[in-house]
Protein backbone atom coordinates (compact mmCIF):
# COMPACT_ATOMS: atom_id res chain seq x y z
CA UNK A 1 0.00 0.00 0.00
CA UNK A 2 1.04 3.57 -0.61
CA UNK A 3 3.11 4.86 2.31
CA UNK A 4 1.57 8.34 2.36
CA UNK A 5 -1.91 6.82 2.47
CA UNK A 6 -0.84 4.55 5.32
CA UNK A 7 0.42 7.55 7.31
CA UNK A 8 -2.88 9.37 6.72
CA UNK A 9 -4.81 6.30 7.89
CA UNK A 10 -2.66 6.08 11.03
CA UNK A 11 -3.26 9.78 11.73
CA UNK A 12 -7.00 9.18 11.43
CA UNK A 13 -6.65 6.20 13.75
CA UNK A 14 -5.00 8.33 16.42
CA UNK A 15 -7.59 11.07 16.02
CA UNK A 16 -10.39 8.54 16.28
CA UNK A 17 -8.91 6.79 19.31
CA UNK A 18 -8.30 10.01 21.23
CA UNK A 19 -11.76 11.31 20.33
CA UNK A 20 -13.62 8.19 21.41
CA UNK A 21 -11.58 7.18 24.44
CA UNK A 22 -12.71 10.00 26.80
CA UNK A 23 -16.36 8.95 26.32
CA UNK A 24 -15.64 5.43 27.50
CA UNK A 25 -15.28 4.42 31.12
CA UNK A 26 -16.96 3.63 34.39
CA UNK A 27 -18.97 6.36 36.12
CA UNK A 28 -19.44 6.79 39.84
CA UNK A 29 -22.75 5.40 41.14
CA UNK A 30 -24.04 8.82 42.13
CA UNK A 31 -23.81 9.98 38.52
CA UNK A 32 -25.58 6.90 37.21
CA UNK A 33 -28.35 7.32 39.81
CA UNK A 34 -28.86 11.04 39.45
CA UNK A 35 -28.80 11.01 35.67
CA UNK A 36 -29.08 14.38 34.03
CA UNK A 37 -28.76 16.35 37.22
CA UNK A 38 -25.17 15.24 37.41
CA UNK A 39 -24.25 17.14 34.25
CA UNK A 40 -21.65 19.27 36.00
CA UNK A 41 -19.96 16.24 37.57
CA UNK A 42 -20.02 14.45 34.25
CA UNK A 43 -18.40 17.32 32.47
CA UNK A 44 -15.77 17.54 35.24
CA UNK A 45 -14.99 13.83 34.90
CA UNK A 46 -14.76 14.21 31.16
CA UNK A 47 -12.60 17.33 30.94
CA UNK A 48 -10.51 17.08 34.11
CA UNK A 49 -9.92 13.36 34.39
CA UNK A 50 -10.40 11.55 31.14
CA UNK A 51 -9.14 14.01 28.54
CA UNK A 52 -5.75 14.61 30.22
CA UNK A 53 -5.39 10.89 30.77
CA UNK A 54 -6.07 10.06 27.13
CA UNK A 55 -3.67 12.79 26.02
CA UNK A 56 -1.01 11.35 28.31
CA UNK A 57 -1.63 7.84 26.96
CA UNK A 58 -1.15 9.12 23.40
CA UNK A 59 2.02 10.99 24.34
CA UNK A 60 3.54 8.14 26.34
CA UNK A 61 2.67 5.58 23.66
CA UNK A 62 4.27 7.69 20.94
CA UNK A 63 7.43 8.35 22.97
CA UNK A 64 7.87 4.71 24.05
CA UNK A 65 7.27 3.39 20.53
CA UNK A 66 9.82 5.78 18.97
CA UNK A 67 12.31 4.87 21.72
CA UNK A 68 11.90 1.16 20.99
CA UNK A 69 12.30 1.72 17.27
CA UNK A 70 15.50 3.68 17.85
CA UNK A 71 16.98 0.98 20.08
CA UNK A 72 16.14 -1.70 17.51
CA UNK A 73 17.97 0.17 14.77
CA UNK A 74 20.99 1.24 16.82
CA UNK A 75 21.56 -2.17 18.43
CA UNK A 76 20.41 -3.98 15.26
CA UNK A 77 18.28 -6.18 17.44
CA UNK A 78 14.61 -6.80 16.89
CA UNK A 79 13.95 -7.46 20.57
CA UNK A 80 15.55 -4.29 21.94
CA UNK A 81 13.29 -1.74 23.58
CA UNK A 82 13.42 0.38 26.77
CA UNK A 83 11.83 -2.37 28.86
CA UNK A 84 13.94 -5.35 27.70
CA UNK A 85 17.24 -3.44 27.81
CA UNK A 86 16.68 -2.36 31.40
CA UNK A 87 16.46 1.32 30.47
CA UNK A 88 12.92 1.59 31.82
CA UNK A 89 14.03 0.09 35.14
CA UNK A 90 16.98 2.48 35.19
CA UNK A 91 14.53 5.34 34.85
CA UNK A 92 12.33 3.73 37.51
CA UNK A 93 15.26 3.55 39.90
CA UNK A 94 15.92 7.25 39.34
CA UNK A 95 12.29 8.06 40.07
CA UNK A 96 12.25 5.74 43.11
CA UNK A 97 15.34 7.47 44.52
CA UNK A 98 13.57 10.79 44.06
CA UNK A 99 10.48 9.50 45.88
CA UNK A 100 12.55 7.91 48.64
CA UNK A 101 14.52 11.07 49.28
CA UNK A 102 11.23 12.95 49.49
CA UNK A 103 12.55 15.58 47.10
CA UNK A 104 10.34 18.15 45.43
CA UNK A 105 11.94 20.52 42.98
CA UNK A 106 11.70 21.41 39.37
CA UNK A 107 14.17 22.69 36.83
CA UNK A 108 13.16 24.51 33.66
CA UNK A 109 9.48 23.70 34.45
CA UNK A 110 10.31 19.99 34.32
CA UNK A 111 9.77 18.25 37.68
CA UNK A 112 12.76 16.79 39.51
CA UNK A 113 11.32 13.30 39.19
CA UNK A 114 11.69 13.48 35.39
CA UNK A 115 15.30 14.58 35.70
CA UNK A 116 16.05 11.72 38.10
CA UNK A 117 14.35 9.26 35.76
CA UNK A 118 16.33 10.73 32.86
CA UNK A 119 19.56 10.22 34.80
CA UNK A 120 18.57 6.62 35.55
CA UNK A 121 17.83 5.99 31.87
CA UNK A 122 21.19 7.45 30.85
CA UNK A 123 22.93 5.24 33.42
CA UNK A 124 21.23 2.11 32.11
CA UNK A 125 21.99 2.95 28.46
CA UNK A 126 25.63 3.61 29.33
CA UNK A 127 25.78 0.21 31.04
CA UNK A 128 24.22 -1.63 28.09
CA UNK A 129 26.28 0.28 25.55
CA UNK A 130 29.45 -0.19 27.60
CA UNK A 131 28.82 -3.93 27.72
CA UNK A 132 28.43 -4.09 23.93
CA UNK A 133 31.79 -2.31 23.64
CA UNK A 134 33.72 -4.55 26.04
CA UNK A 135 33.67 -7.51 23.71
CA UNK A 136 33.55 -7.05 19.96
CA UNK A 137 30.99 -9.19 18.20
CA UNK A 138 28.53 -8.86 21.05
CA UNK A 139 25.60 -10.89 19.75
CA UNK A 140 21.93 -10.07 19.93
CA UNK A 141 21.24 -12.71 22.53
CA UNK A 142 24.01 -11.44 24.81
CA UNK A 143 22.67 -7.91 24.53
CA UNK A 144 19.30 -9.06 25.80
CA UNK A 145 20.89 -11.06 28.60
CA UNK A 146 22.81 -7.93 29.58
CA UNK A 147 19.47 -6.12 29.62
CA UNK A 148 17.98 -8.81 31.84
CA UNK A 149 20.93 -8.57 34.23
CA UNK A 150 20.63 -4.78 34.40
CA UNK A 151 16.92 -5.20 35.03
CA UNK A 152 17.66 -7.52 37.96
CA UNK A 153 20.16 -5.11 39.48
CA UNK A 154 17.91 -2.08 39.22
CA UNK A 155 14.84 -4.00 40.38
CA UNK A 156 16.63 -5.19 43.50
CA UNK A 157 17.84 -1.65 44.18
CA UNK A 158 14.25 -0.45 43.87
CA UNK A 159 13.12 -3.19 46.27
CA UNK A 160 15.85 -2.11 48.65
CA UNK A 161 14.61 1.49 48.49
CA UNK A 162 11.06 0.27 49.10
CA UNK A 163 12.25 -1.71 52.10
CA UNK A 164 13.96 1.36 53.49
CA UNK A 165 10.98 3.63 52.81
CA UNK A 166 8.02 4.27 55.07
CA UNK A 167 4.68 2.67 54.33
CA UNK A 168 3.26 5.48 52.23
CA UNK A 169 6.36 5.96 50.09
CA UNK A 170 6.61 2.21 49.64
CA UNK A 171 3.04 2.01 48.41
CA UNK A 172 3.56 4.96 46.06
CA UNK A 173 6.62 3.27 44.55
CA UNK A 174 4.83 -0.08 44.23
CA UNK A 175 1.75 1.31 42.51
CA UNK A 176 3.85 3.40 40.22
CA UNK A 177 6.07 0.42 39.28
CA UNK A 178 3.02 -1.30 37.84
CA UNK A 179 3.00 1.32 35.13
CA UNK A 180 -0.28 3.11 34.86
CA UNK A 181 -1.93 6.29 33.86
CA UNK A 182 -4.26 6.53 36.85
CA UNK A 183 -1.96 8.99 38.60
CA UNK A 184 -2.29 11.32 35.65
CA UNK A 185 -5.11 13.56 36.69
CA UNK A 186 -4.05 17.01 35.59
CA UNK A 187 -3.07 18.78 32.42
CA UNK A 188 0.14 19.78 34.23
CA UNK A 189 1.34 16.17 34.06
CA UNK A 190 0.83 16.15 30.31
CA UNK A 191 2.64 19.45 29.99
CA UNK A 192 5.70 18.13 31.87
CA UNK A 193 6.09 15.20 29.49
CA UNK A 194 5.27 17.07 26.30
CA UNK A 195 8.45 19.18 25.88
CA UNK A 196 10.83 16.28 26.53
CA UNK A 197 8.88 13.93 24.27
CA UNK A 198 8.76 16.53 21.49
CA UNK A 199 12.48 17.29 21.72
CA UNK A 200 13.35 13.58 21.76
CA UNK A 201 11.10 12.81 18.81
CA UNK A 202 12.39 15.73 16.77
CA UNK A 203 15.96 14.55 17.28
CA UNK A 204 15.03 11.06 16.06
CA UNK A 205 13.13 12.50 13.08
CA UNK A 206 16.17 14.60 12.19
CA UNK A 207 18.36 11.49 12.14
CA UNK A 208 16.22 9.08 10.10
CA UNK A 209 18.77 8.73 7.25
CA UNK A 210 21.41 7.89 9.85
CA UNK A 211 19.10 5.37 11.56
CA UNK A 212 18.65 3.59 8.23
CA UNK A 213 22.39 3.37 7.70
CA UNK A 214 23.29 2.35 11.25
CA UNK A 215 20.67 -0.39 10.97
CA UNK A 216 22.64 -1.84 8.05
CA UNK A 217 25.80 -2.06 10.17
CA UNK A 218 28.17 0.36 11.86
CA UNK A 219 31.11 -0.10 9.49
CA UNK A 220 28.87 0.32 6.49
CA UNK A 221 27.26 3.41 7.99
CA UNK A 222 30.66 4.96 8.75
CA UNK A 223 31.95 4.18 5.27
CA UNK A 224 28.87 5.88 3.80
CA UNK A 225 29.70 9.03 5.74
CA UNK A 226 27.79 8.74 9.04
CA UNK A 227 29.57 9.97 12.17
CA UNK A 228 28.45 6.80 13.92
CA UNK A 229 29.58 7.45 17.48
CA UNK A 230 28.34 11.01 17.59
CA UNK A 231 24.98 9.99 16.08
CA UNK A 232 24.57 7.18 18.60
CA UNK A 233 25.27 9.48 21.53
CA UNK A 234 22.70 11.99 20.29
CA UNK A 235 20.12 9.22 19.75
CA UNK A 236 20.75 7.76 23.20
CA UNK A 237 20.30 11.22 24.67
CA UNK A 238 16.99 11.61 22.83
CA UNK A 239 15.73 8.21 23.96
CA UNK A 240 16.77 8.89 27.56
CA UNK A 241 14.80 12.14 27.53
CA UNK A 242 11.69 10.40 26.24
CA UNK A 243 11.89 7.33 28.46
CA UNK A 244 12.80 9.44 31.51
CA UNK A 245 9.84 11.75 31.02
CA UNK A 246 7.34 8.97 30.41
CA UNK A 247 8.56 6.73 33.22
CA UNK A 248 8.55 9.62 35.71
CA UNK A 249 4.92 10.34 34.89
CA UNK A 250 3.50 6.86 34.27
CA UNK A 251 5.94 4.28 35.55
CA UNK A 252 7.47 1.61 33.34
CA UNK A 253 4.95 0.64 30.66
CA UNK A 254 6.51 -2.34 28.92
CA UNK A 255 6.54 -3.66 25.38
CA UNK A 256 4.83 -0.73 23.62
CA UNK A 257 8.29 -0.03 22.21
CA UNK A 258 8.50 -3.61 21.00
CA UNK A 259 5.08 -4.12 19.46
CA UNK A 260 4.46 -0.75 17.77
CA UNK A 261 7.64 -0.65 15.63
CA UNK A 262 7.21 -4.27 14.55
CA UNK A 263 3.64 -3.85 13.46
CA UNK A 264 4.56 -0.64 11.66
CA UNK A 265 7.45 -2.35 9.87
CA UNK A 266 4.91 -4.82 8.51
CA UNK A 267 2.60 -1.95 7.51
CA UNK A 268 5.03 0.51 5.99
CA UNK A 269 8.45 -1.16 5.62
CA UNK A 270 11.78 -0.60 7.39
CA UNK A 271 12.68 2.85 5.96
CA UNK A 272 12.93 5.04 9.06
CA UNK A 273 11.85 8.17 7.20
CA UNK A 274 8.36 6.67 7.06
CA UNK A 275 8.67 4.21 9.91
CA UNK A 276 9.33 6.92 12.51
CA UNK A 277 6.08 8.88 11.96
CA UNK A 278 4.15 5.63 11.56
CA UNK A 279 5.55 4.21 14.80
CA UNK A 280 4.82 7.46 16.60
CA UNK A 281 1.18 7.46 15.47
CA UNK A 282 0.62 3.77 16.01
CA UNK A 283 2.22 3.87 19.48
CA UNK A 284 -0.10 6.72 20.46
CA UNK A 285 -3.24 4.98 19.20
CA UNK A 286 -2.12 1.67 20.70
CA UNK A 287 -1.58 2.94 24.23
CA UNK A 288 -4.82 4.97 24.16
CA UNK A 289 -6.68 1.79 23.17
CA UNK A 290 -4.89 -0.30 25.79
CA UNK A 291 -5.56 2.21 28.54
CA UNK A 292 -9.22 2.51 27.59
CA UNK A 293 -9.49 -1.27 27.74
CA UNK A 294 -7.58 -1.39 31.04
CA UNK A 295 -9.94 1.04 32.77
CA UNK A 296 -13.14 -0.56 31.47
CA UNK A 297 -12.35 -4.27 31.63
CA UNK A 298 -13.35 -4.70 35.29
CA UNK A 299 -15.29 -1.63 36.44
CA UNK A 300 -15.25 0.22 38.69
CA UNK A 301 -11.61 -0.77 39.27
CA UNK A 302 -9.03 0.55 36.82
CA UNK A 303 -6.27 -1.86 35.89
CA UNK A 304 -2.81 -0.27 35.49
CA UNK A 305 -2.17 -0.27 31.75
CA UNK A 306 1.38 -1.61 32.26
CA UNK A 307 -0.10 -4.94 33.33
CA UNK A 308 -2.10 -5.14 30.12
CA UNK A 309 0.76 -4.18 27.77
CA UNK A 310 3.07 -6.69 29.44
CA UNK A 311 0.38 -9.33 29.13
CA UNK A 312 0.27 -8.66 25.38
CA UNK A 313 4.00 -8.04 25.03
CA UNK A 314 5.26 -11.22 26.65
CA UNK A 315 3.72 -13.58 24.06
CA UNK A 316 4.66 -11.12 21.29
CA UNK A 317 8.28 -11.27 22.45
CA UNK A 318 8.22 -15.07 22.44
CA UNK A 319 6.68 -15.09 18.98
CA UNK A 320 9.48 -12.87 17.64
CA UNK A 321 12.06 -15.07 19.32
CA UNK A 322 10.66 -18.23 17.72
CA UNK A 323 9.87 -16.68 14.33
CA UNK A 324 13.49 -15.72 13.67
CA UNK A 325 15.07 -17.34 10.68
CA UNK A 326 17.50 -20.11 11.56
CA UNK A 327 20.49 -18.57 9.69
CA UNK A 328 20.82 -15.45 11.71
CA UNK A 329 19.20 -12.66 13.57
CA UNK A 330 17.08 -11.24 10.84
CA UNK A 331 14.84 -8.41 11.74
Amino acid sequence: MNRALMLILLTLLVALATAIAPFVGALPECVQRDGLRAGATLSKIFWDLRVPRVLMAALAGAALAVSGMTFQAVFRNSLAEPFTLGVASGASLGAAVYTHLGLAFSLFWIPGMSWFAFAGAVLAILLVFGLTRVRPGFSGATLLLAGVAINFCFSSLILFLQYRSDFTQSYVILRWMMGGLSNVVRYDDVLTVLPLAVVGTLIVLYLTHELNLIATGEDLAASRGVEVNRTKIVLFFAVSLMVGAVVAACGPIGFVGLMAPHICRLLIGPDHRYLTPATLLFGAAFLVACDTLARTVMPPAELPVGILTSLLGGPFFLWLLLARSPQGEVL
Binding site: A73, R76, G140, Y206, L207, H209, N212, L213, A215, T216, G217, D219, L220, A222, S223, R224, G225, V226, E227, R265, G269, P270, D271, S325, Q327, G328, E329, V330, L331
Partner: protein, 270 residues
Protein backbone atom coordinates in the same frame (compact mmCIF):
# COMPACT_ATOMS: atom_id res chain seq x y z
CA UNK B 1 50.17 2.05 -18.26
CA UNK B 2 49.62 3.07 -14.65
CA UNK B 3 51.44 6.22 -13.69
CA UNK B 4 53.24 5.42 -10.45
CA UNK B 5 54.52 8.89 -9.68
CA UNK B 6 53.90 10.45 -6.27
CA UNK B 7 51.35 12.96 -7.57
CA UNK B 8 49.24 10.12 -8.99
CA UNK B 9 49.01 8.33 -5.63
CA UNK B 10 45.57 7.65 -4.16
CA UNK B 11 46.65 6.13 -0.86
CA UNK B 12 50.09 6.54 0.62
CA UNK B 13 50.78 4.61 3.79
CA UNK B 14 54.07 5.23 5.51
CA UNK B 15 55.72 3.45 8.47
CA UNK B 16 52.26 2.60 9.76
CA UNK B 17 51.91 0.43 12.86
CA UNK B 18 48.77 -0.38 14.79
CA UNK B 19 48.12 -2.17 18.06
CA UNK B 20 44.72 -3.50 19.10
CA UNK B 21 44.87 -4.15 22.79
CA UNK B 22 48.37 -5.43 23.44
CA UNK B 23 48.71 -7.19 20.12
CA UNK B 24 50.56 -5.48 17.29
CA UNK B 25 48.41 -6.09 14.21
CA UNK B 26 50.28 -3.96 11.68
CA UNK B 27 53.99 -3.29 11.79
CA UNK B 28 55.84 -0.62 9.84
CA UNK B 29 53.65 -0.89 6.73
CA UNK B 30 54.64 1.34 3.78
CA UNK B 31 53.36 1.31 0.20
CA UNK B 32 51.21 3.36 -2.15
CA UNK B 33 48.14 2.75 -4.28
CA UNK B 34 47.92 4.65 -7.57
CA UNK B 35 45.00 6.04 -9.52
CA UNK B 36 43.20 3.49 -11.67
CA UNK B 37 45.12 0.59 -10.17
CA UNK B 38 43.75 -2.77 -9.04
CA UNK B 39 45.72 -3.78 -5.98
CA UNK B 40 45.17 -7.01 -4.09
CA UNK B 41 46.20 -7.52 -0.49
CA UNK B 42 47.01 -11.17 0.21
CA UNK B 43 48.68 -13.12 2.97
CA UNK B 44 48.11 -15.84 5.57
CA UNK B 45 45.22 -15.82 8.04
CA UNK B 46 45.63 -13.23 10.75
CA UNK B 47 48.26 -11.27 8.83
CA UNK B 48 46.31 -8.03 9.29
CA UNK B 49 44.78 -7.71 5.82
CA UNK B 50 41.28 -6.73 6.90
CA UNK B 51 42.67 -4.44 9.60
CA UNK B 52 44.72 -2.60 7.00
CA UNK B 53 41.68 -2.23 4.73
CA UNK B 54 39.66 -0.84 7.63
CA UNK B 55 42.43 1.66 8.38
CA UNK B 56 42.21 2.91 4.78
CA UNK B 57 38.56 3.85 5.38
CA UNK B 58 39.26 5.17 8.90
CA UNK B 59 37.02 2.51 10.44
CA UNK B 60 39.90 1.93 12.83
CA UNK B 61 41.55 4.93 14.37
CA UNK B 62 44.96 5.49 15.86
CA UNK B 63 48.23 3.89 14.92
CA UNK B 64 51.73 5.21 14.40
CA UNK B 65 52.95 6.57 11.09
CA UNK B 66 50.60 8.13 8.58
CA UNK B 67 48.11 7.42 5.80
CA UNK B 68 47.41 10.01 3.12
CA UNK B 69 44.52 10.07 0.67
CA UNK B 70 45.06 12.20 -2.44
CA UNK B 71 47.94 13.88 -0.66
CA UNK B 72 45.94 14.89 2.41
CA UNK B 73 46.22 13.19 5.81
CA UNK B 74 43.32 10.75 6.17
CA UNK B 75 42.25 12.10 9.56
CA UNK B 76 41.67 15.58 8.08
CA UNK B 77 38.73 14.38 5.98
CA UNK B 78 35.21 14.86 7.26
CA UNK B 79 33.29 11.58 7.26
CA UNK B 80 30.98 12.52 4.38
CA UNK B 81 33.88 13.93 2.39
CA UNK B 82 35.76 10.67 2.88
CA UNK B 83 32.67 8.73 1.75
CA UNK B 84 32.65 10.64 -1.54
CA UNK B 85 36.24 9.48 -2.09
CA UNK B 86 36.28 5.94 -0.68
CA UNK B 87 33.60 3.24 -0.70
CA UNK B 88 33.88 0.09 1.39
CA UNK B 89 32.40 -3.34 0.77
CA UNK B 90 32.58 -5.34 4.01
CA UNK B 91 32.46 -9.09 4.43
CA UNK B 92 28.98 -10.59 4.39
CA UNK B 93 26.99 -10.01 7.57
CA UNK B 94 24.18 -12.29 8.67
CA UNK B 95 22.30 -9.58 10.57
CA UNK B 96 20.26 -7.81 7.95
CA UNK B 97 17.49 -5.30 8.32
CA UNK B 98 14.66 -6.13 5.89
CA UNK B 99 15.42 -3.29 3.48
CA UNK B 100 14.79 -3.91 -0.19
CA UNK B 101 17.76 -4.04 -2.56
CA UNK B 102 16.84 -0.67 -4.03
CA UNK B 103 16.43 0.99 -0.62
CA UNK B 104 19.83 -0.33 0.34
CA UNK B 105 21.53 0.87 -2.85
CA UNK B 106 19.90 4.31 -2.49
CA UNK B 107 21.58 4.58 0.93
CA UNK B 108 24.89 4.71 -0.93
CA UNK B 109 23.89 8.28 -1.80
CA UNK B 110 24.03 9.37 1.84
CA UNK B 111 27.28 11.40 1.53
CA UNK B 112 25.48 13.65 -0.97
CA UNK B 113 22.38 14.24 1.19
CA UNK B 114 21.43 16.88 3.71
CA UNK B 115 18.94 16.17 6.54
CA UNK B 116 15.32 15.77 5.39
CA UNK B 117 16.42 15.94 1.76
CA UNK B 118 15.69 13.14 -0.63
CA UNK B 119 17.78 11.69 -3.40
CA UNK B 120 18.12 14.07 -6.38
CA UNK B 121 18.12 13.36 -10.13
CA UNK B 122 21.85 12.82 -10.32
CA UNK B 123 21.53 10.41 -7.43
CA UNK B 124 18.70 8.49 -9.10
CA UNK B 125 20.86 8.20 -12.20
CA UNK B 126 23.79 6.87 -10.13
CA UNK B 127 21.53 4.29 -8.47
CA UNK B 128 20.13 3.20 -11.84
CA UNK B 129 23.62 2.75 -13.26
CA UNK B 130 24.78 0.84 -10.18
CA UNK B 131 21.82 -1.54 -10.47
CA UNK B 132 22.45 -2.04 -14.18
CA UNK B 133 26.20 -2.53 -14.05
CA UNK B 134 25.93 -5.10 -11.25
CA UNK B 135 22.95 -6.86 -12.82
CA UNK B 136 20.91 -6.43 -9.65
CA UNK B 137 17.96 -4.64 -11.24
CA UNK B 138 15.91 -7.87 -11.70
CA UNK B 139 15.70 -8.29 -7.91
CA UNK B 140 15.70 -4.60 -6.93
CA UNK B 141 12.38 -5.03 -5.09
CA UNK B 142 13.44 -8.09 -3.10
CA UNK B 143 14.39 -7.93 0.56
CA UNK B 144 18.08 -8.23 1.50
CA UNK B 145 17.48 -11.14 3.85
CA UNK B 146 15.97 -13.24 1.06
CA UNK B 147 19.05 -13.05 -1.21
CA UNK B 148 21.68 -15.71 -1.79
CA UNK B 149 25.30 -15.01 -0.89
CA UNK B 150 26.26 -14.17 -4.47
CA UNK B 151 23.30 -11.86 -5.02
CA UNK B 152 23.97 -10.13 -1.73
CA UNK B 153 27.61 -9.49 -2.64
CA UNK B 154 26.51 -7.87 -5.91
CA UNK B 155 24.06 -5.68 -4.01
CA UNK B 156 26.79 -4.56 -1.60
CA UNK B 157 28.98 -3.65 -4.56
CA UNK B 158 26.05 -1.86 -6.22
CA UNK B 159 25.55 0.28 -3.09
CA UNK B 160 29.26 1.12 -3.05
CA UNK B 161 29.11 2.07 -6.75
CA UNK B 162 26.11 4.33 -6.12
CA UNK B 163 28.41 6.18 -3.75
CA UNK B 164 30.45 7.24 -6.84
CA UNK B 165 33.73 7.18 -4.95
CA UNK B 166 37.17 7.19 -6.55
CA UNK B 167 38.34 4.15 -4.59
CA UNK B 168 36.59 0.86 -3.92
CA UNK B 169 37.79 -1.16 -0.92
CA UNK B 170 36.64 -4.78 -0.93
CA UNK B 171 37.02 -7.30 1.87
CA UNK B 172 37.09 -10.83 0.44
CA UNK B 173 34.52 -10.16 -2.28
CA UNK B 174 34.52 -13.72 -3.67
CA UNK B 175 35.03 -15.81 -0.54
CA UNK B 176 32.14 -18.23 0.17
CA UNK B 177 30.75 -17.83 -3.35
CA UNK B 178 30.29 -20.60 -5.92
CA UNK B 179 32.30 -20.62 -9.19
CA UNK B 180 29.66 -18.84 -11.25
CA UNK B 181 29.24 -16.02 -8.76
CA UNK B 182 32.99 -15.72 -8.29
CA UNK B 183 33.39 -15.27 -12.05
CA UNK B 184 30.53 -12.75 -12.15
CA UNK B 185 31.98 -10.65 -9.33
CA UNK B 186 35.42 -10.67 -10.96
CA UNK B 187 33.99 -9.63 -14.33
CA UNK B 188 31.98 -6.94 -12.60
CA UNK B 189 35.05 -5.47 -10.89
CA UNK B 190 37.00 -5.55 -14.16
CA UNK B 191 34.10 -3.71 -15.85
CA UNK B 192 33.96 -1.07 -13.11
CA UNK B 193 37.70 -0.47 -13.38
CA UNK B 194 37.47 -0.24 -17.18
CA UNK B 195 34.39 1.99 -17.32
CA UNK B 196 35.02 4.56 -14.63
CA UNK B 197 38.73 4.20 -13.87
CA UNK B 198 37.91 3.33 -10.27
CA UNK B 199 40.87 2.39 -8.11
CA UNK B 200 40.29 -0.99 -6.48
CA UNK B 201 41.90 -2.35 -3.32
CA UNK B 202 40.80 -5.87 -2.56
CA UNK B 203 41.64 -8.24 0.27
CA UNK B 204 41.55 -11.85 -0.85
CA UNK B 205 42.72 -15.37 -0.08
CA UNK B 206 42.60 -16.55 -3.66
CA UNK B 207 46.08 -15.94 -5.07
CA UNK B 208 45.22 -17.22 -8.55
CA UNK B 209 42.34 -14.81 -8.95
CA UNK B 210 44.34 -11.98 -7.38
CA UNK B 211 47.26 -12.57 -9.73
CA UNK B 212 45.03 -12.73 -12.81
CA UNK B 213 42.92 -9.69 -11.91
CA UNK B 214 45.27 -7.19 -10.29
CA UNK B 215 47.96 -4.86 -11.48
CA UNK B 216 49.95 -5.29 -8.30
CA UNK B 217 49.84 -7.32 -5.10
CA UNK B 218 50.87 -6.62 -1.53
CA UNK B 219 51.44 -9.60 0.74
CA UNK B 220 51.21 -9.11 4.47
CA UNK B 221 52.85 -11.53 6.86
CA UNK B 222 52.53 -11.08 10.63
CA UNK B 223 51.51 -7.48 10.11
CA UNK B 224 54.36 -6.36 7.90
CA UNK B 225 54.75 -6.14 4.14
CA UNK B 226 56.42 -9.35 2.95
CA UNK B 227 55.99 -8.64 -0.75
CA UNK B 228 54.96 -5.78 -2.98
CA UNK B 229 55.08 -6.22 -6.72
CA UNK B 230 53.50 -7.51 -9.91
CA UNK B 231 51.63 -10.81 -10.38
CA UNK B 232 54.57 -12.22 -12.36
CA UNK B 233 56.90 -11.53 -9.44
CA UNK B 234 54.77 -13.16 -6.75
CA UNK B 235 53.84 -16.32 -8.67
CA UNK B 236 57.15 -18.07 -7.98
CA UNK B 237 57.49 -21.05 -5.63
CA UNK B 238 60.29 -19.49 -3.56
CA UNK B 239 58.45 -16.17 -3.04
CA UNK B 240 55.18 -17.90 -2.17
CA UNK B 241 56.87 -20.28 0.21
CA UNK B 242 58.48 -17.37 2.04
CA UNK B 243 55.08 -15.70 2.51
CA UNK B 244 52.98 -18.74 3.37
CA UNK B 245 55.60 -21.13 4.81
CA UNK B 246 54.36 -24.07 2.79
CA UNK B 247 55.55 -25.53 -0.55
CA UNK B 248 53.73 -24.55 -3.75
CA UNK B 249 53.22 -26.23 -7.12
CA UNK B 250 52.77 -23.94 -10.12
CA UNK B 251 51.84 -24.53 -13.75
CA UNK B 252 51.48 -22.10 -16.65
CA UNK B 253 47.98 -20.77 -17.24
CA UNK B 254 46.81 -21.81 -20.73
CA UNK B 255 45.60 -18.30 -21.65
CA UNK B 256 47.34 -15.76 -19.44
CA UNK B 257 51.11 -15.62 -19.52
CA UNK B 258 51.27 -16.31 -15.83
CA UNK B 259 51.98 -19.30 -13.61
CA UNK B 260 49.06 -20.34 -11.41
CA UNK B 261 48.96 -22.44 -8.28
CA UNK B 262 47.60 -25.98 -8.52
CA UNK B 263 46.61 -27.84 -5.37
CA UNK B 264 49.12 -30.48 -4.33
CA UNK B 265 48.03 -34.07 -3.97
CA UNK B 266 47.63 -35.12 -0.36
CA UNK B 267 50.72 -36.66 1.15
CA UNK B 268 50.23 -40.36 1.83
CA UNK B 269 52.10 -42.62 4.21
CA UNK B 270 54.85 -44.62 2.44
Amino acid sequence: MIDRSAENAVFEINRFSLCLGKKEILRDVSFAVYRGEYLSIVGPNGAGKTTLLRCFDRLLLGGMGWIRLFGRPLEEYRRKELARRVAYVPQADARLFPFTVEQFVVMGRYPYLTPFSSIDRGGRQAVREALDVTGTRPFAERRLDTLSGGERQKVYIAAALAQQADVLLLDEPTTFLDYRHQAEIRDLLARVKERSGTTIVSVTHDLNQAALDSDRLVALCDGSVAFCGTPGEIMRPDVLQRIYRTPFLLVDHPRAKLPVIVPRTPETQP
